[in-house]
Symmetry: C2
Subunit: 344 residues, 2 copies
DNA sequence: CTGTTAGCGCATTCAA
DNA sequence: TTGAATGCGCTAACAG
């Protein structure tokens, strides 16, 4: 592999008998350069096969013009929407975006955060890993005044804004809906309670039970990773219960759908015997039969808002310490899986 | 915002009365540095709040230690698996990974490729956008001897390896299966035929028809974007046909499931009246009723193989021009959606 | 095992 | 409107 030196602004400058400074300015469309020289420079750059060296520029300017994004996984349509929303805003504002996934482990989250720190992202958008407990890895950012914004899976941290939905209320409402539809023994399948999202959903569920004079029973609680397999396992656990629940509120659609299907396969009538409700309005919720009652919230919008908030922080040279919590709206989608024929 | 100078290896060197070179080496765990000095350096670095400046290093070394990945969308579980596979391999080999999505447009693909080029990725892994026709944006990489590897959605290009599955054969086999199960009027819903993946599937389908003495009829072909909505639209198109097909082979599961459900809602019996087959073995295929016959191929493995191939290219200083085409295995998953009760 | 030295390519201040 | 000069922070010869 022949390692030739890169074509630089010096090469262009030499060709054109101008100074490197002029070339630098011309390339970046600086106002104080005449149209004519600008054109000459651009043409020559193309001719020589010049490529802009982002490292040199970043090193010199001590910033990267890049926003870092860390998410637990990229594989849900919800996350993908969020990222599309983020990218829309950042690219419109002239930022690059680098994305990485923690695969739900704190270990990888820390590595990713460190890499981003060393690559001098101008700001960080993050949705936390399942088992992420520490916030140490964000300290360096905060100390250097690099804004960190949490979305969806958040942790409260001074100096950090957060973008969320009202998981408590959504869970409260969906549980209430199940109760109003005639269910009394309502079970919950949730995720790790260290995670705000699942903790809030769990608490909303409990509160609704309490407000409707139903006793919460820990036997009707399953905490798992909310994957497809977990849904199937949960179904078998339910089948073995001495008294089965008459409704299940699951903290995500994928797990809910898998659990429901497995129960159906085992002869349970949905929703007559057991009603179901999920969360996220994944496309699967409209495919599974009966269609799944769920909570809809807009990932794309969440991404946009997170990115906008970050860019606002970046632009306000002062008052960068202001912290906000933005709560986006959600809505209940009632479908057949929770429509018991039994009247209230 | 107070802009203080960064803590550098010089600061550490000064504190410790050693040379910057020693610090540089100590930090990077160079073998020729005594344990003791190494420890001193690490401690001091921590004390001063030193951060490694990746730009300076990259600038100096003229490489980034980073692999770029461009995919059409991040939102399928299949893509997410691929990326997880890629990340596994690259991170084990000490590379960073930057991911971006083209959102199925050539425009964004070009922008992303250029950004990666300017950020001096050491190699590029790419799955093409739906409407990507040009290959101009890869030329600069090839000229600079930066390996570009295509996976799944590929285009043949000198100097570029490709990782694919045998879409032709998979489609051929699945069509043959539909025929053997008693279907005669087999329809195909596919994606943009500019894309190898969809083109091959279409041709495999046609070939199987021909080999089994069935005539291919363009009226039984729908080309769309294979989204959920497209599946529903296709269902309505089918309902309006003077003679409905008795089987549909769809180029992805999501579209297939949506189409099938919509037909069911309109009173069509699946698979008795119309059999269905999809592609990808998405989780949706095991949820929809009847479960969807499909083609399984391992995204994770594809990601791993793509990344390994790339890293091989990077490591072989010579013979970097060798190009390979790797075909991964796939397998048919036969489920109820294609099990007509009608015997052959 | 450690130090000296000289850039990597660009942006920016100051001067013209 | 342009040029000269300097340094961002690190690494890799080469020389001890």
């Amino acid at each position: 592999m022949i390692e030739r030196r890169e074509v630089t602004i010096y090469d262009i400058a030499a060709q054109l008998n101008v100074s490197p400074a002029t070339v630098s300015r011309g390339l970046r469309d600086h106002p104080a350069i005449s149209k004519k020289t600008k054109k000459k420079i651009l043409d020559c750059a193309k001719k020589l096969g010049y490529r802009y060296n982002a490292f040199a520029s970043n090193l010199r300017r001590r910033k990267s013009n890049t926003i870092g994004v860390i998410v637990p996984r990229l594989n849900s349509s919800f996350m993908s929407d969020i990222i599309a929303g983020i990218e829309k805003v950042t690219s419109e504002s002239g930022y690059n975006t680098i994305i990485s996934q923690s695969l739900e482990t704190e270990r990888k989250e820390i590595i990713n955060a460190t890499t981003m720190y060393n690559n001098m992202v101008d700001g960080l958008l993050i949705s936390l890993a399942y088992d992420s407990k520490s916030t140490e890895h964000f300290k360096p950012f905060i100390e250097k005044n690099i804004p960190v914004i949490f979305f969806d899976r958040v942790r409260s941290l001074n100096q950090c804004s957060t973008i969320i939905i009202d998981n408590f209320k959504a869970a409260y409402d969906i549980t209430t809906h199940l109760i109003k539809s005639g269910s009394r023994r309502i079970m919950h399948i949730g995720g790790n309670l260290l995670c705000n999202v699942y903790n809030d959903r769990f608490n909303g569920y409990k509160k609704s039970l309490a407000d409707h004079h139903l006793t919460y029973s820990p036997e009707y609680l399953i905490i798992n990773n909310l994957g497809s397999g977990d849904g199937i396992e949960a179904a078998h656990a339910i089948l073995k219960m001495p008294v089965m629940p008459d409704a299940v509120f699951v903290a995500n659609d994928n797990c809910a759908a898998n659990c429901m299907i497995e129960l159906k396969k085992n002869g349970i009538n949905i929703p007559e015997e057991i009603s179901f409700a999920g969360f996220n309005n994944d496309s699967i919720s409209g495919i599974v039969e009966p269609n799944l009652t769920t909570v809809d919230y807009q990932g794309f919008e969440m991404g946009e808002v997170a990115a906008k908030t970050l860019i606002d922080h970046l632009n306000q040279t002062q008052d960068a310490t202001r912290t906000e919590t933005i709560v986006l709206r959600h809505k209940l989608i009632i479908r057949e899986s929770s429509m018991k024929s039994v009247p209230v």
